[in-house]
């Protein structure tokens, strides 16, 4: 491919200086090397008529251009609307039309993406190669100068079409809708972590280790059975505000049990959690939770 920058100048200046597009077709190459800044020329030129085959009023041009997804799309449009074949593009015709568009855009000061100018250059380059005598020998058969452009147009058209099909698929939020029902009535079982007793004991050893280090904490060493009995007496007192002392002892627990209960009662009393009362001399001892001021 020849130098693109040159081609670009060629195209734009050609079309600018030669209003007659057919003339451009035949002269594009021979008059190629013009040095003027291309776009300035275009903007300066009065623009009086639209080519008939475009069918686009000038005020719609901007909107029109926005509907194209780039130069390939525009080219495809030019080809398809005339029922022309992609694979055998009348390159001179299409180039002329395409360049007319580019000129109009510039005339209307519509900012054109660089890709559009590049395509103009490519078209002009292809056109110029088409004008050159084609080698005839089968051995040296050079590819059709249009082949690469045709391939790109076809490839683009496939995806353009695929995009339309994609858009037509039933999709969520437009055609189909995900559903959900309320789950307020569903009772979710809470799953708790598993714990091993060993973990609890090891955690407690850590506590003890820390407590041993700080001397002011002295962890008392009552047998656990006493602590447990203390809890159970307190628990009973929550529902039964006055418990006869003897009922805190159970015969079947034997001597050991009685000792545990007694120690628990004494400890609770010492910690001022319960009080032991006797309503009349020699009356029955009773235990009740200690309530400082009758609150509760």
């Amino acid at each position: 491919m020849t130098d693109l920058a040159d081609c670009e100048k060629t195209v734009v200046t050609d079309s600018n200086s030669e209003r007659d597009a057919r003339q451009v077709d035949s002269q594009a190459v021979s008059e190629g090397a013009v040095t003027a800044a291309p776009l300035a020329f275009v903007n300066g030129a009065p623009f009086t008529e639209l080519p008939e085959d475009l069918y686009i009023p000038p005020d719609a041009l901007e909107v029109f251009l926005e509907t194209f997804e780039g130069p390939l799309d525009l080219l495809l449009y030019l080809i398809r609307r005339q029922n022309l074949s992609i694979v055998d593009i009348p390159i001179a015709d299409i180039t002329r039309q395409y360049i007319t568009y580019i000129e109009m855009m510039s005339e209307l000061r519509i900012e054109l993406a660089a890709e559009y100018l590049l395509m103009a250059a490519i078209l002009a380059e292809i056109k110029s190669r088409m004008l050159l005598p084609r080698p005839t020998g089968p051995e040296q058969g050079e590819e059709d100068p249009r082949a690469e452009l045709v391939r790109r147009l076809q490839e683009y058209e496939r995806y353009k079409h695929a995009a339309q099909e994609l858009d037509a698929l039933p999709r969520c939020e437009r055609d189909v809708f995900e559903t959900s029902a309320d789950t307020g009535a569903i009772k979710v079982k809470k799953i708790y972590p598993e714990v091993e007793l060993k973990e609890v004991l090891l955690a407690f050893q850590d506590v003890l280790r820390r407590a041993e280090r700080s001397t002011h904490h002295h962890i008392q060493r009552e047998p656990l059975s006493v602590r447990e009995r203390m809890s159970s007496i307190l628990a009973r007192l929550r529902t039964q505000l006055l418990i006869p002392f003897p009922s805190l002892f159970e015969r079947k627990e034997g001597r050991h049990g009685a000792v545990v209960s007694l120690l628990a009662i004494l400890e609770l009393s010492k910690e001022r959690l319960i009080e032991i009362i006797q309503e009349e001399p020699l009356g029955e001892l009773q235990v009740r939770p200690l309530m400082a001021s009758g609150v509760d």
Binding site: F177, T179, S180, I191, V195, Q205, P223, L224, A235, M291
Partner: protein, 198 residues
């Protein structure tokens, strides 16, 4: 669309797509002005829909903000599995608090804090109670009347103990500590970097 789409089915579609209760006005507004059914028709359609739901996974409920289709409670055993979170592990603080309550019960939160040397978060105590391992057995008659915490029968059941007496006595744990002065495996620290929940 097809002329014979039933009103009740349109309402069902809308309720399921919305995923929230729809008010009667919202149901009316599903329709263009010129094809809106009479309120009485919508009411009958709702009644039919409720009837259709018999034996199905959802039921039509009227709540304050309107009508909704809700999954029947009977499906909880299965559906709840969708929402169950994988349990994490309990934090160190949680296990220590539990151990202190087990060994020192009945005990107040303040006493636990004294022993651990740091504050005990209420969420730990709440979780222990939720799990049914700890209960309040009374209140200590000191200013503030703090709750006295003790372990429960469920606690014993979970750890397969007949009574707290089956826990190693405090003295034994302390003796163990002395032994551990010699370097030894510490399975405890495995937990150090695992996620923990309270």
């Amino acid at each position: 669309m097809s002329i014979d789409v039933e009103l009740k089915t349109i309402i069902e579609a809308a309720l399921l797509a919305a995923g929230r209760p729809l008010s009667f006005a919202e149901l009316e507004n599903l329709f263009a002005d010129n094809e809106r059914p009479e309120p009485s028709e919508i009411h009958s359609a709702l009644a039919e829909l409720a009837e259709d739901c018999r034996g199905r996974a959802v039921e039509l409920k009227q709540v304050a903000s309107g009508y909704r289709l809700q999954v029947r409670e009977a499906f909880s055993p299965w559906v709840s599995r969708l929402f169950e979170e994988r349990p994490g592990r309990y934090s160190r603080a949680f296990l220590e608090t539990l151990a202190i309550i087990a060994y020192r019960q009945p005990v107040t939160r303040g006493e636990i804090e004294d022993i651990r040397g740091v504050a005990v978060s209420s969420s730990i105590v709440r979780t222990l109670q939720e799990r049914g391992w700890v209960q309040v057995v009374g209140h200590k008659e000191v200013p503030g009347r703090p709750a006295l915490l003790a372990t429960t029968k469920q606690f014993l059941d979970y750890f397969n103990l007949k009574s707290l007496g089956e826990l190693p006595p405090l003295q034994e744990l302390i003796d163990d500590l002395a032994l551990q002065a010699a370097p030894q495996d510490q399975p405890v620290t495995e937990n150090a970097n695992t996620e923990s929940i309270e």
